[in-house]
């Protein structure tokens, strides 16, 4: 019989490992089970390596437009696909090692293998059966292995995986998921991206910048379906200007594979069919929770649409078993997982915590131009019957944006007309993913328009537009 842990976490993605560190900080004896790579999808196959790829694309884009800034590049700017991918993998590897270091520093036991919950209080870990997509580092030193482990509290943080549409199963060669799209042996000349959520659009943006002929097929009537319709409309115009072909209200109904290409049958909302051929197809139609093979069914743990049902504190219907992050339902975002995990262990420790407020979770998409948002869209606010005041400020009116050569973009703010509560903020343009946090803090502190209007924003910055957007909502805008 092994030692009893206070907390055992299954999965070391951003939700799991942050939860483990917080648990250790609270003095709880903590273990974390991982079968593949520390840091999970986010760090190895998601958020981080795609940002590295997009950074290469961004610099390539600037180099191509060097003359706009009075610079001259002798000869042609080109790229080496293998080197671009290698840099991305290197970034993941560095951070993956960092997670191992952090867990060790916080005295969290790492158990290598696949976990199954036998019953509340007990987990059996067996050797990893899943073939790693591509091993990161060797298994970290000093990890524990197969065995039966006792834990007072078990937290499921197994994350999610790409959703698969029947008949369009990824094969790793012609039909890709983000796994293959991130490490292509060479860049395809033509590409169809199925799905225009954050993952789909980021790959579309990357491959288009690298010279690929890209078509995005989206079943909903707008690209970036969760975003504010006005922002999504502006994004679509910019994507199309960059040469991405976009088909909304259209679905891929059939895929026929050829030797080195796929032929997709597309169907629009009226049922009109057409075909489109490209070298590769990326399936980016969302993700589903990893709820299988961890013993949930046997224990009778409630699930709904592929995710574990939890309350705001991560508790499942079975005492002693918790779930956080993607596996506990949308929004499936790393920062939501981290926050949920922290709340979950703080509640376990008996600290006074409030359930996660999903209305204040920001979302960022790192396409070109970037899109970022928090809170209600204009349509959602109106759907709730709220009377709203809306502010808009275009990048064109901002000195810093002009100096950067980034005059396209918009910052939109939505206030409750009655109380001045900031209901939502929606942005498109350069660096907006770094700006959104200002509004997130404002929302969490429950500021009204008044505090935002009286706050001093530094000049010259893009953040001044956040101020102006608020001023605009109250009829006081200066620079338009």
């Amino acid at each position: 019989m092994m030692a009893t842990y206070d907390v055992l976490i299954i999965g070391s993605g951003p939700g799991g490992y942050v939860t483990a560190i917080r648990a250790a900080q609270l003095g709880l004896k903590t273990a974390i089970v991982e079968r593949e790579h520390l840091g999970g999808i986010c760090l190895n196959w998601g958020c981080i390596p795609t940002k590295a790829l997009l950074r290469s694309a961004e610099i390539y884009h600037y180099a191509q437009h060097a003359q706009d800034y009075g610079l001259k590049i002798e000869g042609k700017v080109t790229f080496d696909p293998a080197a671009v991918v290698k840099r991305s993998r290197g970034v993941s590897q560095q951070l993956n090692g960092g997670v191992g270091f952090l867990l060790k520093k916080n005295k969290v036991d790492v158990i290598w293998g696949e976990a199954v919950i036998d019953k509340p209080g007990q987990v059996t870990v067996s050797a990893t059966k899943k073939a790693a997509v591509q091993p990161q580092n060797p298994i970290p030193k000093g990890t524990l292995g197969e065995g039966v482990y006792q834990a007072k509290n078990i937290i499921v943080a197994t994350g999610a995986r790409p959703r698969v549409l029947p008949g369009i199963e990824p094969d790793g060669k012609l039909i890709w998921t983000y796994f293959e799209a991130m490490v292509p042996p060479e860049f395809p000349k033509s590409l169809i991206v199925m799905g225009s959520g954050a993952i789909g659009i980021e790959f579309a943006s990357f491959y288009r910048t690298m010279g690929c002929d890209v078509t995005v097929v989206e079943v909903m009537p707008q690209v970036l379906p969760v975003e504010d319709a006005e922002i999504a409309g502006l994004a679509r115009k910019r994507f199309e200007k960059a040469g991405i072909k976009i088909l909304t209200s259209t679905k891929v109904s059939k895929v026929e594979k050829k030797a080195n290409s796929v032929v997709c049958t597309l169907e629009d909302e009226k049922g009109n069919k057409s075909t489109l051929e490209a070298e590769r197809l990326i399936s980016a139609v969302g993700v589903v929770g990893n709820i299988e093979n961890i013993g949930l069914e046997k224990l009778g743990i409630k699930t709904d649409r592929g995710c574990v049902v939890t309350d705001g504190l991560g508790r499942t219907n079975i005492p002693g078993i918790f779930a956080i992050g993607d596996v506990a339902g949308p929004p499936m975002l790393a920062h939501k997982a981290e926050h949920e995990g922290v709340i979950c262990v703080e509640a376990i420790k008996g600290l006074h915590v409030h359930p996660i407020d999903k209305s204040m979770i920001p979302g960022c998409t790192y396409c070109h131009p970037q899109v970022a948002s928090v809170g209600l869209t204009e349509a959602k606010a109106k759907e709730q019957g709220l009377s709203v005041k809306i502010g808009r400020f275009p990048f064109m009116g901002n000195g810093k944006a002009i100096a950067l050569g980034e005059p396209d973009g918009l910052i939109k703010t939505i206030f409750d007309a009655k109380t001045g509560k900031l209901l939502g903020a929606h942005m498109i343009g350069a660096e907006v993913t770094e700006l959104i946090q200002g509004y997130v803090v404002a929302m969490n502190l429950e500021t009204t328009e008044e505090e935002l209007i009286y706050a001093v924003f530094p000049h010259p910055t893009l953040s001044e537009m956040m101020h102006e957007s608020v001023l605009d909502a109250y009829g006081r805008v200066i620079h338009t």
């Binding site: 006074h352 500021t447 009204t448």
Partner: protein, 435 residues
């Protein structure tokens, strides 16, 4: 230095209260956040939480002591590492000894320590103390005339945030007293934590409120608190109506599958009858506003539809102008889309009156809560065979009891009675709806 526990003020105006009971004994280890004692006023019972850690060295004011003045020394905590006995006897000087007879008062220490030096284990802000609240909480409180000093904060470091003010509004507590009047200490709504303590951990499942549940709670509390309801009950005989219904449905044209074009229900008659009755008594087809009475041209009748997780009230617009078949088909469409939560706001917002029918459950009679901005709502019970007296002899009739809830600000008793009488006449003589 020993820590003095002083009698807390539960509200800015509280001067004295009763020490109901101690939850800790002398010698108990105290952690920050532990509940030390319960304090009562005539309106509320509150807990005194420890702010500091240590050992409860001395209880100075005993259980059950009445009328203990605010800021009276009621106990002493020995801080970590301090001698408990010494702390017990050296308990800081109290501002005023409790007058209660039963209270064993510790001999005041020789050192005249300022009473404010020790932390006070008070739940509520003392009068005049700074209240920490978010800007949004302050603004909502100001608009709703909520006294923030009486709101318990649940944000970081006890800061009052939006949800606390909303809870105070929903609970009807902490309303600011009109200037000049002496403010009675209002009972505080029980906090979630207090309510949970009634039930053992794990003995219940906690289901977070969805937005529909929150809306129902908010609107109904608002309705019951702001609308002076009164109720009028009437029995209606249904036999003529049931016969008419049969005849109407029998004549429904059928499509090629043999499906009738409509199947009118008793409820459809009720909607129509209420709409027509409101037209006959236009003074009752109104909405109260502070500035004026809104007298509506049309009868927009809401119909409460029960759906999983709550209810919603789609509105049959201009119901007086619509035929029974049209009302019937509209309701079928509304009910189906309500269950799918697909109704558009303009389909369930507004309206001038409403029908709530629980007859299908065999409910004989009930009173409904008015759904603002309506001035009335008709609660409909089951149609059932009852013995009635006709021409001095018992007879069997199908009878349905209905209760009209009325906003007395807008519709007075006699007018409400006229409205429900007109409704009864129409229900008992359904041909009257046609002319």
């Amino acid at each position: 230095m020993p820590i003095n526990i002083l009698m807390p003020a539960l509200s800015p105006t509280m001067e004295k209260g009763n020490l109901a009971r101690w939850l800790k004994k002398e010698g108990d280890t105290i952690k920050a956040g532990d509940v030390l004692a319960e304090i009562e006023t005539d309106k509320a019972t509150m807990e005194v939480e420890a702010v500091d850690e240590g050992i409860l060295a001395k209880i100075i004011v005993a259980d059950g002591t009445m009328d203990v003045a605010v800021n009276t020394l009621i106990g002493v905590i020995a801080a970590e590492g301090e001698d408990v006995k010494a702390a017990a006897t050296s308990g800081g000087a109290s501002a005023s000894a409790p007058k209660a007879a039963a209270a064993p008062v510790a001999a005041p220490a020789a050192v005249a320590a300022p009473t404010t030096a020790a932390p006070v284990a008070a739940l509520e802000a003392a009068p005049g103390a700074r209240v920490f609240a978010s800007p949004l909480a302050r603004r909502i409180a100001k608009d709703a005339r909520i006294d923030l000093a009486r709101v318990k904060g649940t944000g970081p470091h006890g800061r009052i945030v939006e949800r606390d003010v909303r809870a105070a509004m929903a609970g009807g507590t902490a309303l600011a007293a009109p200037a000049g009047a002496s403010a009675p200490s209002a009972p505080m709504g029980m906090s979630d934590a207090t309510i949970r303590k009634f039930f053992a951990d794990g003995s219940y499942e906690e289901i977070p409120h969805d937005s529909m549940r929150k809306t129902i709670a908010r609107r109904l509390v608002e309705a019951k608190q702001t609308i002076p309801h009164f109720y009028l009950t009437m029995d209606c005989e249904l036999d003529t109506l049931l016969a008419a219904r049969e005849a109407i449905n029998a004549q429904a044209p059928k499509d090629k599958d043999g499906k009738p074009a409509y199947k009118v229900s008793v409820n459809d008659f009720i909607i129509k009858a209420l709409a027509v009755a409101l037209q006959r008594l236009p003074d009752a087809n109104v909405t109260w506003t502070e500035g004026a009475m809104l007298k509506h041209q049309h009868s927009d009748v809401g119909v409460a539809v029960s759906i999983p997780g709550g209810l919603i009230t789609p509105i049959v617009r201009m119901a007086e102008t619509k035929g029974l078949a049209q009302i019937s088909n509209e309701m079928k469409d509304y009910a189906a889309r309500a269950r799918a939560r697909k109704l558009k706001p303009e389909e369930y917002q507004g309206g001038t009156s409403a029908v709530s029918n629980l007859g299908m459950f065999g409910i004989k009679n009930f009173s409904a809560v008015i759904n603002p901005p309506h001035a009335t709502i008709l609660a409909v019970g089951a149609g059932e065979q009852r013995i009635v007296v006709k021409k001095g002899a018992p007879a069997v009739a199908t009878v349905m009891s209905v209760t009209l809830s009325t906003d007395h600000r807008a519709v007075d008793g006699a007018l409400g009675a006229e409205l429900i009488s007109a409704f009864k006449t129409l229900i008992e003589n359904p041909m009257g709806m046609l002319v």
